[in-house]
């Protein structure tokens, strides 16, 4: 099985590769269109800022490539947000794979425990759909670090609650995405990555 991690100007790419290696899988980190198109599975990770990242993707025509992919694609964190239609971060038009708009968390002063932005740490996921998840993962904790979120909609595949309910995961056709970091989410995250590899 050929697995490709899309290389672009984002942090955290090595972490995803490390997590795949722990599952005994080797991935290639590349921006080569031909290699990405021919891979069995494509991972689109990311830590960064939406508008500069979209500019980079457009400049390298990776935007057109990603939306045209037919094999299973997994977006992670910023990857999920860029797969939505629009992000408030830098008022950015995104890839439009998921029909969701990405908004910034607005802290609620005075409400203890849920007032801080970014949403950082371990939180539980519920309402699991899609073959990214198996039943026993319901209510399990995964690791999040983000200030922006995609709301709940028809593509929502997992829900998390922080200030508001938001999409912890999205799925539409061959496109999968998690707002959390499976590569940093311990055994649970490893299982989710494994599920993706087995799709």
């Amino acid at each position: 099985m050929k697995i490709v991690i899309i290389k672009y100007n984002a942090g955290n790419i090595e972490s995803v590769n490390n997590a795949l290696n722990r599952l005994g899988v080797n991935a290639e980190i590349t921006a080569d269109h031909e290699k990405i198109r021919n891979a069995d599975k494509v991972i689109f990770p990311g830590v960064g800022e939406a508008s500069t990242t979209m500019d980079y993707l457009r400049k390298h025509k990776l935007d057109e490539l990603i939306v045209s992919l037919k094999q299973p694609v997994l977006g992670i964190c910023l990857g999920l947000q860029l797969m939505c239609s629009h992000s408030e971060e830098g008022d950015t038009k995104c890839l439009g794979i998921f029909d969701e708009k990405v908004k910034r968390f607005v802290p609620e002063p005075g409400k203890e425990y849920i007032t801080k932005v970014p949403h950082m740490g371990w939180n539980s996921i519920t309402g699991l759909k899609s073959n990214l998840f198996t039943k026993e993962l319901e209510n399990k904790y995964v690791y999040f670090v983000h200030s922006y979120y995609a709301g709940i909609g028809k593509d929502t595949a997992a829900t998390c609650n922080y200030i508001v309910p938001f999409s912890a995961a999205l799925q539409k056709n061959n496109f999968y995405a998690t707002q959390f970091h499976p590569e940093k989410s311990g055994e649970i995250g490893a299982r989710i990555l494994k599920n993706f590899l087995e799709i």
Binding site: G11, E14, S15, N18, A19, N21, R22, V47, G48, P107, E112, Y113, I114, T115, K116, V117, P118, H119, M120, G121, W122, N123, S124, Y141, Y143, V145, N161, Y162, H181, E183, K184, S185, G186, E187, G189, A190
Partner: protein, 251 residues
């Protein structure tokens, strides 16, 4: 709901953990990678690796170690010690660290916080503050492992760090550190009320009850400790069960 975090801290010198450890199921007790993996398997939510190596050679060893940690560990980890410029942080980020912690260098050069946050994002920058309180409840920020007092005061410095872009504050009370008599809950609670970023409490952990207190009275987001975990005085799975029984949300 967002879970409260339990964070073991490991001191590293020349690539080895410093404190003696009594775990029977670990072959190489000095190996930070193996110890870190054990903590992760036990349910630690994050780890902090603090490099206390002074030499240049040792620093290179640490970067290599961070690479090995990143390859093996499946939970987030912070590295600290000796980070005084962007290039130090960049090396550690490239090696796979999720966050870096700065302490004395931020006190000497507060602009470093702005620069790091701008270059790598606030979520990458933990500002560690070691402070000592006097009988008038004035908390003086100290550097060099608590040895040198500075002009700065805890609450204003923490606020400044937040304003400059720190993503988290790691507050160690030098009055409580090593006492095992509980965390500095009064000061922690005051910090929680005045800051919008998460607070990691450090110094004073001795019992499971102390962690209940630090999350309720101290309003901390995370509790950090070293020796009670290294000597297995409080196994993490037991601590988590205890916290759960007391109604604290943990993973």
């Amino acid at each position: 709901m967002l879970a409260k975090r339990i964070i073991p801290c490991l001191d590293i010198r020349n690539g080895q953990t410093v404190k003696g450890i009594n775990f029977v199921d670990i072959k190489e007790v000095g190996d930070p990678v193996e110890l870190g993996a054990k903590y992760a398997a036990d349910g630690a939510d994050e780890l902090v690796f603090l490099d206390i190596t002074a030499t240049h050679e040792g620093r290179k060893t640490f970067v290599e170690l961070v690479k090995r940690i990143a390859a093996h560990l499946n939970i987030p980890f912070t590295v600290g010690g000796g980070i005084s410029e962007l290039s130090d942080a960049d090396k550690l980020l490239s090696a796979g660290a999720d966050k870096i912690s700065i302490n004395s260098s931020a006190v000497r050069n507060p602009q470093l916080i702005d620069d790091l946050a701008k270059s790598f994002g606030s979520q990458f920058v933990v500002v560690a503050i070691d402070a000592r309180g006097n009988e008038n409840n004035h908390w003086t920020v100290t550097v060099n492992g608590g040895r040198i007092p500075t002009e700065k005061e805890l609450f204003s410095w923490a606020k400044e760090a937040e304003d400059r872009g720190a993503g988290e504050i790691l507050f160690t009370s030098m009055n409580h550190d090593g006492t095992k008599n509980g965390f500095a809950n009064e000061q922690l609670s005051q910090l929680a009320d005045s800051l919008k970023i998460p607070i990691i409490a450090s110094g004073g952990a001795g019992t499971e009850e102390h962690f209940v207190d630090v999350f309720t009275k101290g309003k901390a987001d995370a509790g950090l400790a070293a020796s009670i975990f290294h000597y297995n005085e409080i196994p993490i799975p037991e601590l988590k069960n205890y916290l759960r029984e007391k109604g604290i949300v943990v993973r």
